[in-house]
């Protein structure tokens, strides 16, 4: 089980299945998690479930909808809705692996995390550890449908590249790109979209 003391808690689990889960947090807690970040839910049986943030959704309610149509809303009331009102933000996470007994696996975990399990943002060391076991977890991302896979890849690769560069493995990113090309080369339209997106990282 990872040392949670250094990780930043970003929310608690609302619902989950084996391949994805959703955590909730308040708007005021929303400064840390970012699209594509590696996160971890720690289960009681010493299993850590790892995932990437695929979506952050801001919920509304009747009052917000009513305010949206208002001509002029004082800044104070915008702040009120953001910081005082109890509208949870939903963080959607794609499961990409797990670790047990210190061993990283890029398969789906045997069980999903449970309700109200705490969700943590992984620190650099954890990102380095998870991404240093090959690239097979990329397949989970590529399986996504109706979601901006390219953007997710770019966000994740950019985070992982920064981390891997900092631990002296600058070739990690190159190998990741090559792996992606091999995985996607039979799907020309999709691969070119991914590469278009990755080109922006260069």
């Amino acid at each position: 089980m990872s040392d949670s003391s250094r990780s930043i808690p970003i929310g608690k689990l609302l619902r989950a299945d084996n391949s994805q889960f959703v955590a909730g947090c308040r708007v005021r807690e929303l400064e840390t998690p970012a699209f594509g970040s590696l996160v971890r839910a720690s289960l009681e049986d010493q299993t850590d479930v790892y995932g990437l943030i695929t979506n952050i959704s801001i919920n509304d309610d009747g009052l917000v909808r009513q305010l949206v149509s208002g001509v002029s809303i004082p800044g104070e009331y915008t702040a009120d809705n953001r910081y005082n009102r109890n509208l949870p933000v939903e963080i959607h996470v794609l499961t990409i692996g797990f670790s047990r007994d210190g061993q990283i696996h890029h398969q789906l975990p045997p069980r999903p995390p449970l309700s109200l399990d705490q969700l943590f943002l992984c620190d650099s060391e954890e990102v380095a550890r998870f991404t240093s076991h090959g690239y097979s977890y990329l397949r989970h991302i590529l399986r996504l449908v109706d979601q901006p896979v390219e953007e997710l890849l770019v966000a994740h690769l950019s985070q992982a590249r920064r981390v891997q560069d900092s631990v002296g493995r600058p070739d990690w990113y190159e190998a990741a790109c090559q792996r992606l090309i091999v995985l996607l080369r039979d799907d020309y339209p999709r691969l070119t979209q991914v590469l278009d997106a990755l080109s922006e990282l260069e």
Binding site: S69, G70, S72, E76, A79, R85
Partner: protein, 388 residues
């Protein structure tokens, strides 16, 4: 829940006919009252004289009394101050019920304070007060009713408002509560307890007045007939009849009388003083004034609300204009359904849902001695209600 729709179908034609007749009656009343209102406007001295006589003669009164402003006044929207403090408070309550396993009462007050012009998020407070057992029981040993709990709630609101006002607040400071400022207008509370609350409220009102805080009560979709009662007195006076405010034939909500006068969005009516005479009315209370305000932003759909404030406010130059502007602006935040935003928020903070009430009950039960807990049982009727 099944409904007998065939039966409803049968009755609805009849209902429509009745409703049309009633509307015709109301229209009829409105045209009489509008005529009287114009007449009274033309004879302001006679009107004032009639009201003052009624104040002398009658012990049970709830009506409007003209101030120096002509009663046909309609005043456009003044400028809003650049900065001010608006505090809204609202409360909800759990009324003790003999159907529950535990008899308990809770008053929950939400307060929200915004420093408009600061850009900062408003400050929110929630006060949840579990009523003491002797508070929820009458001298006769029965449980207190809804009105008494409401009174306690209103008092809690006022107390929280007083706490919330701080010397650091941006001037002017306006507080806003839902409903009439006078907390006794509907109270049927017997005995000393009411007097006790009244003293506290009066003390709070005076304190706030000293600090220059404008306390306002916002009455949405007002149903009261204070103007029609005023006109009923006027009619008696003019016809030389004994003064009587409760003329059933002239009973109509003030809105219908003012609707055509306050046609433009943001316009307010003349300021009236609210006159209350009742046997139970405490000796000391702050005089209250009010005006009607069209909070709509659409010329074709006027939306009149009543805004009550202490009479002293009308005597300080500029304060009524400031209140007028601030409340209109505040109601505009919610656009198509104008209502003061902070008042809605304080309600949102205060409201206690049924599940929450149940949670409190469980919490309270868990503290009880097991022996005692055994005897506390929920009524079957209440249990079964929860199932549906």
């Amino acid at each position: 829940m099944p409904l007998n729709y065939a039966q409803l179908e049968h009755s609805r034609g009849q209902f429509a006919a009745q409703y049309a007749a009633w509307q015709a009656e109301l229209n009829n009343r409105a045209s009489i009252l509008k005529g009287l209102f114009s007449e009274a406007a033309a004879k302001p001295d006679l009107l004032r004289q009639a009201i003052e006589e009624a104040e002398q003669q009658l012990t049970n009164l709830y009506l409007a009394k003209p101030t120096d402003e002509p009663i046909l006044t309609h005043k456009g929207l003044p400028c809003t101050p650049a900065s001010y403090t608006l505090i809204a408070a609202d409360g909800s309550q759990i009324v003790p019920s003999r159907h529950r396993a535990l008899q308990f009462g809770v008053v929950n007050v939400g307060l929200i304070k915004a420093h408009i012009g600061s850009g900062e998020a408003p400050e929110i407070r929630v006060e949840t007060e579990l009523l003491a057992l002797d508070q929820i029981q009458t001298a006769e040993g029965t449980l207190i009713g809804e009105d008494e709990v409401a009174l306690l709630r209103d008092l809690a609101e006022r107390k929280l408002i007083r706490q919330a006002v701080s010397p650091d607040d941006l001037e002017p400071v306006i507080t806003l509560t839902d409903g009439p400022l006078d907390v006794f207008y509907r109270s049927t509370i017997q005995g000393d307890r009411g007097q006790e609350v009244q003293r506290e409220v009066f003390e709070i009102d005076q304190d706030l007045r000293r600090r220059g805080v404008v306390t306002a009560g916002y009455i949405d979709k007002p149903g009261s007939a204070m103007l029609s009662r005023m006109l009923a007195i006027f009619q008696c006076k003019r016809q030389g009849l004994p003064l009587e405010s409760n003329n059933h034939e002239l009973n109509l909500s003030d809105r219908f009388i003012l609707q055509e006068i306050l046609r433009l969005p943001g316009e307010r009516s003349a300021i009236f003083e609210a006159i209350t005479r009742s046997a139970r009315k405490p000796a000391s209370s702050l005089p209250v004034a009010f005006f009607y305000l069209n909070v709509s932003n659409d010329e074709n759909e006027p939306c009149l609300v009543r805004l009550e404030f202490p009479l002293w406010v009308s005597e300080v130059p500029g304060l009524v204009d400031m209140l007028h502007a601030v409340i209109y602006k505040e109601a505009q935040v919610l656009d198509s359904h104008p209502y003061p935003y902070l008042l809605h928020r304080s309600h949102e903070l205060a409201v206690v849902k049924r599940v929450e009430a149940d949670e409190i009950e469980v919490m309270l039960q868990s503290q009880l001695d097991p022996e005692i807990r055994l005897h506390q049982q929920r009524s079957n009727k209440d249990y079964l209600k929860g199932l549906s």
